[in-house]
């Protein structure tokens, strides 16, 4: 049987950008596709023991962000705020604590909508035998040690390993996030 392989490059370390690589990888693996995620640059935070629990949503520089009140916080007052400010005004991003507040609200919304958390999706990836590969060079760049990262990872590797993984397959696919 022809081998199908999906290789995902995860380069971002915000909460929203941690979702696509993990959702695609866990799903691809359940469809029987051999899957690996190569975590590089800020994407390493997704598999960092401590930082994976502190991923944030950035209100600043994200004008598409809706004023997302979680369903349990929606009432006449919050609905009025949402109708006046469909998104938090960009200037509010400089207020200390704004990023944490937005992250708190997003996490609450995620939970109330039955969407999996990042640690849950990492577990789903591991169960489905997704290879999780940390990038050696960026680990050194950021001063992350292998033991700072979660259990169950592949050995740190570089671009050549990634290319080889992709090209060994009969049907290779690459997704860059």
């Amino acid at each position: 049987m022809a081998t199908e392989r999906l290789a995902i490059i995860a380069t971002k370390g915000t909460l929203d950008m941690a979702y696509p690589p993990l959702i695609l990888a866990s799903t691809a693996a359940s469809l029987g596709i051999e899957t690996a995620i190569f975590f590089t640059f800020y994407g390493l935070n997704i598999i960092h023991k401590k930082k994976m629990n502190e991923l944030k949503i950035a209100p600043i520089g994200n004008p598409a962000m809706p004023m997302a009140f979680p369903p349990s916080m929606q009432n006449a007052i919050t609905n009025t705020i949402s109708s006046v400010f469909p998104g938090p005004p960009q200037i509010m991003g400089i207020i200390p604590g704004m990023t944490d507040l937005m992250t708190f609200m997003m996490k609450k919304t995620i939970k109330e909508h039955g969407v999996a958390s990042i640690p849950e999706l990492i577990e789903a990836c591991k169960e489905a035998d997704v290879k999780l590969i940390p990038c050696q060079m960026t680990m050194e760049l950021f001063g992350y040690k292998y033991e700072d990262l979660i259990e169950g990872l592949e050995p740190p590797a570089g671009a050549a390993t990634f290319m080889n993984y992709v090209l060994e397959a009969d049907k290779p696919m690459i997704i860059f996030v």
Partner: protein, 78 residues
């Protein structure tokens, strides 16, 4: 109403993409070939995703029933 009697029922109500597909895959692993799994979901995305999962993996989608905001799938394990 469905007349199919499942060997196992997976209630994925309230869960969103990709959890219904991931849980379906796991539940099927516990069944023997030819046995039937009932998957209950409330995720509208599952309407396209569960059939896509079946066509990729070769499990047979016997029937889809929609009732009261729930989408119920009957899958026969390959």
């Amino acid at each position: 109403m469905a007349t199919i009697t499942p060997d196992k029922v997976l209630d994925a109500s309230g869960l969103n993409c990709p959890l219904p597909v991931l849980k379906t895959k796991k539940a099927l692993e516990e069944l023997q070939s030819g046995q039937i799994l009932e998957v209950i979901t409330t995720d509208p995305g599952a309407k396209a995703d569960i059939p896509a999962f079946c066509s990729r993996t070769g499990h047979e989608l016997l029937e889809t029933v929609e009732e009261g905001g729930k989408i119920i799938f009957y899958l026969k394990k390959k």
